[in-house]
């Protein structure tokens, strides 16, 4: 892999070169929290942040997306007006890149989702390393580092960012701004190892995922699920902020007074009462406890069967976002009978 570095004070210059070709979106502070937004000035970008409110999935599967326009005589015409937008997401954390890699699998395969895939190809990703806070457990979920899914990846070495070049496009970005980049030295490599070690020691949360599928099978009838069902509000916040929750609903809208309309998909949550409701009134997950169990089960157990790993990346958003403080780390540790662990 090609590895170079860029002095921090030259980042704004780099951004202005990139901006000749792409719109740059980066984490921006918003009442003490962060959100990915289009930059008007490089100075708004915050590369040291804990987590954005919504994950970058909002760029690849927007909360509301028109799939087709229905026109009488023409049928269902794919909507592709917004798909050509070219962006760079600057400052994506490893866990979020890992999550996008998981979504690649979900929206790929035999039935390729052309909306997701087109956006994925049109959006560049510049990753940035981070320091875990008290809600991060990406290391437990093996998502604290990524080896693919980014065009460039920046690691903070103090005065400079070490830059991993992940794709040919990333290489083009570096070449466009060639005078800003420098080769790395032996001292940089030492510094990188030091940063990596410090990050490792900064984690305060830990869960063991090794035999989690078996634990979930054994605890399928645990009373923990009923307790969680009593606690959960079915608000779906955890699904909305989750970087790998990809459930969506589809609805047709009609323009008044005509036979034309749109087919629109929107984010959905398996916690919503209607998620498994079929026409005729049968609801396969009527109880809230069965819905929250399904969410945990699908993420930590189902995805292992389908894609070889849990789809949770340990970003901590659901812990921060849950209005009744349901904490996935606590739930897993309780299921494992290790609820004494981690909580101080």
């Amino acid at each position: 892999m090609k590895i170079v570095k860029i002095p921090k004070k030259k980042l704004d210059l780099f951004a202005s070169i990139l901006r000749q070709h792409w719109e740059i979106h980066a984490p921006v502070e918003q009442n003490g929290r962060y959100a990915f937004k289009p930059l008007t000035h490089w100075s708004e970008a915050r590369l040291h942040y804990n987590r954005t409110i919504l994950p970058p999935k909002k760029y690849f599967m927007p909360p509301r997306e028109t799939m087709f326009h229905y026109r009488e005589g023409k049928g269902y015409v794919p909507a592709q007006e917004e798909l050509d937008q070219r962006l760079i997401l600057f400052g994506v954390h490893p866990c979020d890149i890992y999550a996008i890699n998981i979504l690649d699998e979900v929206f790929g395969g035999k039935y390729n989702d052309p909306y997701f895939q087109t956006r994925r190809k049109n959006i560049g990703i510049i990753g940035v390393d981070c320091t875990p806070d008290e809600h991060c457990f990406c290391r437990s979920m093996r998502a604290d580092t990524v080896e693919k899914g980014f065009d460039l990846f920046f690691t903070d070495l103090g005065e400079e960012y070490m830059t991993l070049v992940g794709t040919s496009l990333g290489d083009d970005m570096v070449l466009m701004a060639a005078p800003l980049f420098e080769p790395i030295t032996a001292a940089d490599i030492q510094k990188y190892k030091q940063v990596s070690s410090e990050k490792r020691q900064a984690f305060s949360l830990d869960v063991e995922i090794h035999d989690l599928p078996e634990i979930f099978e054994l605890e399928y009838k645990s009373e923990i699920w009923d307790e969680l069902g009593d606690q959960c509000l079915s608000c779906g916040s955890c699904s909305m902020v989750c970087p790998t929750c990809y459930c969506y609903d589809v609805a047709d809208t009609v323009e008044l007074g005509s036979k034309a309309g749109d087919r629109v998909r929107t984010w959905d949550s398996c916690l919503f009462h209607t998620h498994a409701l079929v026409a005729g009134g049968e609801n396969f997950r009527e109880k809230r406890s069965s819905r929250i169990k399904n969410r945990f089960y699908h993420k930590q157990r189902g995805m292992v069967a389908e894609y070889g790993r849990p789809s949770c990346v340990g970003c901590g958003r659901c812990i921060v976002g849950c209005p009744v403080h349901i904490d996935i780390v606590q739930v897993i540790n309780r299921l494992r009978g290790e609820d004494h662990a981690n909580r101080g």
Binding site: Y76, P78, D172, C247, V254, V278
Partner: protein, 290 residues
């Protein structure tokens, strides 16, 4: 600089879009049973109509303009190509809108989806098809596939139960099958208010008393409401059927049909791509499946 231009994918997503409904014309509406009409559809595009292939047990996503999309199992057999027959129950928003349509109106279709019956595995065996109520809709495709490939199977037995003769799907067609000597077609109704019914009266599981089923050489395909699964599975297990020789066709809420939207998840499988045909062994291992 050319690099940035290469970044943008300009290929229309139209090219290979699994969500694309294709227009199909309603060529016949057969009012089989009240609120259970049989719709015969043909793709508008001749090329699509001719090359369409499916397996018994698969389903389509049916679009009614303005109303939405719903999964509907295919009732016609691939051995009778050219048109598609969908037995649609009037039960929700999309089907209600379909019932307001008339012959020669246009709907959208995409598919076929789902695994369908494992016909390669079934070939060479005895076939037992058990349907209760509306469960006949997805199984009819298998019945005709098997009868059109009669030499590929040993014994074929069909058991079908409905509340009364008026609610029996494909009644005339199935009654005529009862005359065939190369299969056993057992039809039963809970009650016969007409007094004209010449077949069995009683509960579906009692038909097992009239059939000679060898569990070692038979695959059983079952579809019906939960109560049918409950009692038919009891019967089959009492006969010592191995759990992977029992095949069940299931339904769930579906929005995409292609394993993305997650509404049809059961345990760690999706009904749309891993099903809708599951073995009883799958069912035991997938919580919430039946």
């Amino acid at each position: 600089m050319l690099i940035a231009d290469e970044k943008t994918v300009k290929t229309p997503v139209l090219a290979d879009n699994p969500y694309q409904p294709h227009l199909a014309r309603i060529v016949r509406i057969f009012k089989m049973v009240p609120d259970n009409h049989l719709f015969t559809l043909r793709f508008e595009d001749q090329w699509t109509a001719e090359r369409f292939k499916h397996r018994p047990g698969q389903f389509m996503m049916l679009s009614v303009p303005g109303a939405g999309e719903a999964p509907i199992s295919i009732s016609s057999s691939p051995t009778r190509p050219g048109v598609l027959e969908l037995c649609v129950r009037r039960v929700g928003r999309v089907t209600d809108a379909l019932y307001r349509m008339q012959t020669n109106d246009v709907v959208g279709l995409r598919g076929p989806y789902g695994n369908g019956f494992p016909i390669e595995t079934l070939i060479g065996n005895d076939l037992l098809i058990v349907a209760g109520g509306l469960g006949m809709a997805p199984l009819r495709s298998l019945v005709w596939w098997a009868l059109d490939h009669r030499d590929k199977f040993k014994k074929i037995t069909l058991m079908y139960g409905a509340k009364n003769p008026a609610e029996m799907l494909y009644r005339d067609e199935l009654v005529s099958l009862a005359d065939r000597s190369d299969m056993q077609c057992l039809l039963i109704v809970d009650r016969d208010p007409t007094g004209q019914w010449k077949h069995h009266v009683g509960l579906l599981p009692t038909l097992f008393d009239h059939a000679d089923i060898n569990p070692a050489t038979t695959y059983a395909a079952v579809c019906g409401p939960p109560v049918v699964y409950k009692y038919i599975l009891q019967r089959l297990l009492a006969l010592n059927f191995s759990k992977d020789r029992i095949l069940m066709s299931l339904e769930r809420r579906m929005k995409c049909g292609v394993g993305k939207c997650s509404h049809c998840s059961v345990g760690y499988k999706y009904t749309c791509i891993h099903g809708p045909i599951f073995t009883y062994w799958d069912a035991i291992n997938l919580p919430e499946l039946v």
